[in-house]
């Protein structure tokens, strides 16, 4: 999967995955997010503006990243989710699992 990663001046990292965040790319995303947190980048925004669909494996990778970031004293937020990502999150019927924000700016604010 193609990723762009922006290391911002304020210490927040924004990750831009592209395409379908599904069983074929979930492991790679999970590893990327784990590496960032291990390297001390604990405030992470995953911007899904270039993502078409997310499946349960993709969600699992995002949950893993969020848990790792929070354990390290930071957090992981989702920005610009496509409508299908909101649909699948709602279908998990898990409350307050992943925080999503309509824009990157809103996700960054307060992180």
């Amino acid at each position: 999967m193609d990723f762009t990663i922006d290391h911002r001046q304020d210490g927040i990292v924004v990750v831009y995955p592209e395409g379908r965040l599904d069983l074929h790319y979930a492991a790679e995303l999970r590893q990327r997010l784990a590496s960032l947190v291990t390297a001390g980048e604990t405030r992470v925004v995953v911007n899904l503006a270039r993502v078409i669909t997310v499946d349960s494996a993709g969600l699992g990778a995002l949950f893993s990243g969020m848990k790792a970031a929070r354990h390290a004293g930071g957090d992981l937020r989702i920005a610009s989710p496509p409508e299908q990502a909101l649909v699948i999150l709602e279908l998990t019927m898990l409350r307050d699992v992943l925080r999503t924000y309509p824009t990157e700016a809103e996700a960054i604010d307060g992180l």
């Binding site: 395409g19 379908r20 599904d22 069983l23 074929h24 979930a26 492991a27 999970r30 078409i52 669909t53 499946d55 349960s56 494996a57 969600l59 699992g60 990778a61 949950f63 893993s64 848990k67 409508e83 299908q84 649909v87 699948i88 279908l91 998990t92 019927m93 898990l94 699992v97």
Partner: protein
Amino acid sequence: MVSNERALADCQAVITATAARLEALHALLASFWTRASEAGAAPADNTWRLRFATAVAEIGANVVRHAYPLGAEPRRLRLRLRAFSHRIEARFTDGGEPFTQHDRLSAVRPDRRGNVEAPEVPAGAPAAPDLDGLDDYSLLAEGGYGLQIARNAVDEVSYVRTPTGRNVWRLVKRF
């Protein structure tokens, strides 16, 4: 279970799910929505359609994951999408390994025709009740989490293992 009702839209494809993405599954969904819209079948509401599409993608991924363990190439599955007057259906057929992750499947006995049918997965349950207790979320997809998501998205999710060695998954969403 076989319907004599005439479908208003009917699309199918044999998909070879290799290490590449399940793009053919998503392409078939796109064709299906176009056909369904042309026939005036299925709600036009995007959220409604995305729920069905999410369920189809979850079951498709499940088939790839369970029916064809790593190294078994090619992984072929047939997907058929049909729209009827008051429901849409997806049917996955494959000739791979039986699905055994459904924790109630082992308790189900074959019927007199030799079909092994899993009881219906109930809707409205959280996909992963013990989320905080998990260390490796990549395991969630293995544990029926995707199956619960699919079930929450549509009205019926059923699985049958036929005596001829086929897996058949059926999804139904009514309107």
